[in-house]
Amino acid sequence: MNMIETNNLTKIYGNFTAVNGINLHIQKNRIYGFLGPNGAGKSTTMKLFLGLTQPTSGNFTIDNKTYPKERIQILKMIGCFIETPAFYGNLSGEENLEIIQKILGLPKQSVTDALELVGLTQFKKRLAKKYSLGMKQRLGLAGALLGHPPILILDEPTNGLDPVGIHEIRSLIRSLPKQFNCTVLVSSHLLSEVELMADDIGILNHGRLLFEGTMEQLKENAKANGLPTDNLEDTFLAMIDADNRKRGQVR
């Protein structure tokens, strides 16, 4: 069963097409890795799902709910972390999470649990603006994980984390579908990381979806098209290069 489904979803800014008629199928209780170079349209797609921007054409459903009609119901199901950590710098980490907890109507204990989960318990009283980049990233993740939402949308969640932090967060994301019956949509520039985390992947380039499927299907597809299959990074780069050549936009 698909948790998120898009139908020719398109977003155009002026004369720039950020997302070009994509059809995504994100299955329930699986981790979907979103890959693509800078400006491919990954963040824009995620913003569309969250109602931060409106689609120019096409539509999408999240758990059979439609946007914009059921925007609030959709947002109740989603925990997210988009681009940069978003918080109130004048409040402590704990106070920031308390705001989300109250809006979502969760018990107070959920704040303690989320802080514990991302390893911020000892810094919970510190003002968020005084957090390091890694701590801000963890606070953003804690906000997304608060109350264990059925859908998680994470845009490059490991940015700014040290190798130990990256490993912790990766393990955490990996465990979410089994632990909390959670569907995760995660984007990352670290291709090796997506390979370790995701069950399914989608590759975007210039707003178009080049591939969607499992890791095995990607390898089969690459083999059939004469692309390298040794590791995901080589396959991904070759796929993007081939698409750019086809479009006459060699970089």
Binding site: G51, L52, L91, E98, I103
Partner: protein, 241 residues
């Protein structure tokens, strides 16, 4: 709930001290005036409170409006400086409720400020005008009138602050509006109904012209219209972002 959350967001922002500072400064105007030039005023004919209003209200109102501008900038700078607004946009809460919460907080803070200023005016009248007696009805009427007259200014300034992510832009627009509107003739009813100009009016002045009901109804209508504009702005922002 949204009201208490909006209040919580204002922790450590200097919002309440700004209102308190504005109230003390504005209330100091009649006190200083009377301390320095009381003999000029006590010989004037008319109601003591009206004499005090005529002498001080323009300056007090300008300080009140500058405080509203400053606090509207603070309230939205808190939202935009660390992307807090983006987090709120992806939570199941209506954007209009957030704006409404901020409006209510500003109205309450200004109520406290106005009440403090009117009490100081009453105390000045009591102290310097020997035959003056405090009338609670007049005090309440003046307070309600000044508060309603300030509503369009509050909502317009919040609308400007919500539209500009850079605090200095909204602060600049607010200050330009204050000084632009201050040159408008106060006797012209149409111009006196404009936001940023309406708070300069006093109940005595408007009652004298017999236009108090038109004035109050127009101020409330302006507030409602600007509230609708704030609602539409959220849709436009989402469409173009």
């Amino acid at each position: 709930m949204i009201f208490s959350l909006e209040l919580k967001k204002l922790k450590r922002t200097g919002y309440m001290p700004a209102f308190l500072g504005g109230a003390v400064l504005a209330a100091a105007v009649p006190l200083l005036h009377m301390l320095v030039r009381s003999e000029t005023f006590i010989v004037l004919p008319g109601e003591p409170l009206n004499i005090l209003y005529d002498a001080n209200w323009q300056m007090m109102t300008m300080l009140n409006i500058l405080t509203i501008i400053l606090c509207a900038c603070i309230i939205y700078h808190t939202e935009y400086s660390d992307n807090g607004a983006q987090k709120m946009a992806v939570l199941p809460v209506c954007d209009n409720h957030i704006f409404g919460g901020k409006f209510m907080i500003t109205v309450l803070a200004l109520s406290g400020m106005l009440l403090f200023e009117i009490i100081i005016l009453e105390l000045c009248a009591l102290h310097w005008f020997s035959d003056y007696q405090v009338q609670l009805t007049d005090l309440t009427k003046n307070f309600c009138f000044s508060l309603i007259a300030s509503l369009p200014t509050i909502i317009l300034m919040l609308l400007i602050a919500s539209a500009c992510q850079n605090m200095w832009v909204s602060l600049g627009i607010g200050v330009i509006l204050v000084f632009t509107v201050s040159v408008f003739p106060k006797e012209n009813l149409f111009l006196s109904l404009c936001p940023f100009n309406s708070p300069y009016q006093t109940l005595a002045l408007v009652t004298e012209k017999g236009k108090e009901y038109i004035f109050l109804v127009t101020c409330i209508a302006e507030t409602i219209l600007l509230g609708i504009a704030a609602h539409k702005l959220e849709h436009v922002r989402r469409y173009f972002s």
